[in-house]
Symmetry: C2
Subunit: 232 residues, 2 copies
Amino acid sequence: MSIPSYQQFCPVSMAAEILGSRWTIVLLRELCAGSTRFNDLRRGVPRMSPALLSKRLKELEGHGVIERRLVRKHPDIYDYVLTKAGQELKKVVMEVGVWGQRWVESDLSLKNTDPSLLMWDMRRNLNTPKLPPRRVTIQFIFSDQKSASKNFWILHDQNNGADLCSIDPGFDVDLFVRCDLRTLTAIWMGLDRVAKAIADERMFLSGDSDLSGAMQDWLGLSPFAATPKQVA
Amino acid sequence: MSIPSYQQFCPVSMAAEILGSRWTIVLLRELCAGSTRFNDLRRGVPRMSPALLSKRLKELEGHGVIERRLVRKHPDIYDYVLTKAGQELKKVVMEVGVWGQRWVESDLSLKNTDPSLLMWDMRRNLNTPKLPPRRVTIQFIFSDQKSASKNFWILHDQNNGADLCSIDPGFDVDLFVRCDLRTLTAIWMGLDRVAKAIADERMFLSGDSDLSGAMQDWLGLSPFAATPKQVA
DNA sequence: CCGTATCCGGGGGGATACTG
DNA sequence: CAGTATCCCCCCGGATACGG
């Protein structure tokens, strides 16, 4: 997308030269969501190769969308942060997402489930004020997944925020959440509800009853969950 | 962009699968601007090959963004019109354009001037109420262009609307506009003004004095001209 | 942990010509 | 006017392995 340009002065096409290359919008979504470190970004775009990620980051830097900032006292370790121009791209990313939420069929989206990505998004959007003011450990068990993709733990306390583990951290578990991946993904996207999934016996909670009763509240949803679908 | 998917359920990436392929956003801009016929669309994306244009139109139709409608009494001739989902993409296109106008450097945009494209955009956006209520012929002469790209005529009357010609239609010319391509492009983009270009002797008007005096008014500008640049 | 280097294949898309 | 058909190159980007 760099040299073979559209050769149009129109601002739409000039912007499209920057935003239109593969993975760029998805990467920007992850940057807008707050990830700044290389490997955090990778978790948001897991199917993007590190080589391509590095290349895109350089391009975005060259276009003034992000800048690299040295992490204090770590030479050669950088944060990638949005510039003012990059901040304004949030509007574009939001409009793209809103349109996707409204007009892309649910079944199509739900064909692309990914347990790590879902958990990564969920951890970031936890509605922490609705969690009890002590350390909480919640284990998610995806009944239809195997081994490495089956179990996840979210740890939260008010000092350290939320952590995500894919190997057992060893703490006592306050709440177990068991369901298939599609169910939790649909809830996260605003297409289903915790209560309904439980009533339909597609989801099973066990452990702390306060925590299980408030799951729909502490489980923050996708930024687009409130946008109503216009198609099946 | 069709099969090799991002494999993310996120609405942003689902939408990006549809919008992210080369030329698609630029084509959508032209559709949003109102072109519906194949060759009208071509004028808005002159550097796109007809084969690719046809392919993209099919893809957009497949994604429910546009639909083909038979032109009355012409079998095999179609209008391409935005569906409801397509209409809502105007928001995306606008946000992309606004960002481009604010953050892409003027010099970069003005390296991509194109006389036919500029005239095609201008014709569409004429502020016709500011033109006199009779037939008007305006000839544009790009002093730095050669032969086929040098002269354009805009014809307007209240019955037939505005027409654009690149060969002399033969009518008496009410106003001659002479300047270089960059100057008119910059005015169109809101980066320059008619009065300033004249004062600087970068633009010369001759003919009907009412028409020349009101040029800044009847010359409609780019939809993004009112958005202020944030960078040089 | 944070990237870079290298290889390599597939296909996207540019160019051109042509048809109903 | 409204597209198709075809060729073919190039380079995007996926995969993997490796250095700092």
